[in-house]
Amino acid sequence: MSPSSAAGLELRQLCRQVGDRRLLDRLDLQVAPGECVALLGPSGCGKSTTLRLVAGLDPASGGQVLLDGVDLTGRSPGERQVAMVFQSYALYPHLSVEGNLDLGLKVRGMAPRERQQRIDATLELLQLGELRQRRPAQLSGGQRQRVALARALLRQPRIVLLDEPMSNLDAQLREDLRPELRRLLCGREQPVIYVTHDQQEAVGMADRIALLDAGRLQQVGSPRELYTNPANRFVASFLGRPAINLLAIEPGRQLGLRPEHIHLADDGGVAARLLRREWWGHQQLLWLQTQWGALRVLTTAEAPMHPEPRLSWERQHELWFDAQSGARLPPP
């Protein structure tokens, strides 16, 4: 037993090192019961590594994984009561949908009748009843994903891990499935960790986002916190599309201004020259040349366009960063 009594999942100073490559560097993260935290970051940032450490699939090089205050670090994956949905779904190709669900229960020695009841209930919950005899190869991508989810939920896990569960699906299906996934996974007792590289998905799925880069946690907080109050330049540029403008206004300092926070004005403000415009339907993206370099501005599609507009913004939207380290600085 550890001294901690916090409910939910807690990662303490979790490390993973392979050879001299540090895949994950002293990660501290807490996920409350019923909370969904998205691990977000570019590929190779350590998010899948974290998931595998929590699942026990890879050994940690340091640190602890605690569930309700109990240390899981030395336990095998089978003992952790962790369910994981893989990007590839990892369904057993030689077994039917039913067989896929049954295998885990069977090896745990559960009675046939109880197994059948659980499988029936889960298949119904996910509306998979008609597909129970199909093999994975005979299912569509969305159906496979649901079967993988069914297999994860069936075991009544104490932690749910999702590793880019939707990245093999097309964009429309992803959007449609998001509310369903939230309904099924979040708000129960288990902590949920959702790994993705897609910020829209992270914002749509998670209560909080933990942003990782190069094996280090950059910031953790609600989507709104990360957007309005980024801890550093990486967080500011990773979240928000189109990406934030970084302007070298003073030596040693950079000003970050989001494209949606810059207004076009008739006079006053900063002089600019229009380079290019992209029409996005409800909005348009303008590329403008200023004395500090090119920058992007997002405006309404109907905004009147002057070839040499003036730009202005509110002080509260200014984000200042150290030009060298990228650390957030207080406004001057």
Partner: protein
């Protein structure tokens, strides 16, 4: 072009079949009169002493024991090797490849010595020991490649569901390796079926001979006549079980069981 290739590979077999069905006189010169076809060659071979089916049984027994032993050793070996990382993996792979290439002929004198000192001569099951040893490197390499082709997440998923190593092999990995296991088994069986040098030196009792040796001994009675017909008949009989085996296993060899495992 395809026909040519087919003819090239099937020609000798068909010729052998024809020879086995012809009367000896018809082999040398086309007969002017009478029916050139006969089953006498088969009768001669089948009714020899000991009868031909005895050799078939011997070879089958050795082949099965060899295959079983090889797979039993090769599967865990290939699995372990596949998990190995770093320079060891490379080194062991290289050593296996070298062992697979090693010319058997250089071994059999030493093997004979071993057989003598351990009293393994004239023992069919003992014959499968060197056979399995010789087949093992290739079998391990083949199976390792098959293990490597399986998506790693499948095993991860099974581990998370609490399946131990044995259960993972039994319920998940081996069923998916069916085609690879079948083709490896056939290769091993074939090698044992065809082996000559070791069988020749280890087995001397005539009722324990394996097929290749038995066939070579046919017609040893006379220096002046070579019983082509009997040779051919024995060869045909000796290849029938293999043909059968391949026909039966064909479907599992060809079928791609892992289809749809990861992506559609």
């Amino acid at each position: 072009m395809r026909l040519l290739v087919l003819l090239w590979s099937l020609g000798p077999l068909l010729w052998q079949l024809r020879t086995s069905l012809l009367r000896p006189e018809a082999l040398v010169a086309p007969l002017r009169e009478g029916n050139p076809w006969t089953l006498a060659n088969y009768q001669l071979v089948l009714c020899g002493d000991p009868p031909f089916w005895q050799y078939l049984t011997n070879s089958t027994l050795v082949g099965l024991a060899t295959t079983l032993l090889t797979l039993l050793l090769a599967v865990p070996c290939a699995y372990g090797l596949q998990k190995l990382r770093g320079p060891m993996r490379w080194g062991v792979g290289l050593a296996l490849a070298a062992a697979a290439m090693f010319p058997t002929v250089l071994l059999f004198l030493a093997l004979l010595e071993i057989a003598r000192s351990f009293g393994l001569a004239n023992n069919l099951l003992a014959l499968s020991l060197p056979y399995a040893a010789l087949s093992l490197p290739l079998a391990v390499l083949l199976l390792r490649a098959a293990f490597a082709d399986l998506p790693g997440e499948l095993e991860d998923a099974a581990r998370l569901e609490g399946l131990g190593l044995g259960q993972r092999l039994r319920f998940v990995l081996l069923p998916l390796l069916g085609p690879a296991l079948a083709s490896t088994a056939i290769l091993v069986f074939l090698a044992s079926w065809n082996e000559y040098a070791i069988a020749l030196t280890w087995i001397s009792r005539s009722d324990l001979l394996t097929l290749p040796i038995a066939i070579a001994r046919i017609g040893g009675g006379s220096v002046f006549t070579i019983p082509y017909g009997a040779f051919a008949a024995a060869t045909v009989l000796g290849s029938l079980p293999l043909l059968l085996l391949v026909l039966v296993a064909q479907r599992s060899i060809v079928s791609g069981l892992t289809r749809g495992a990861v992506k559609g």
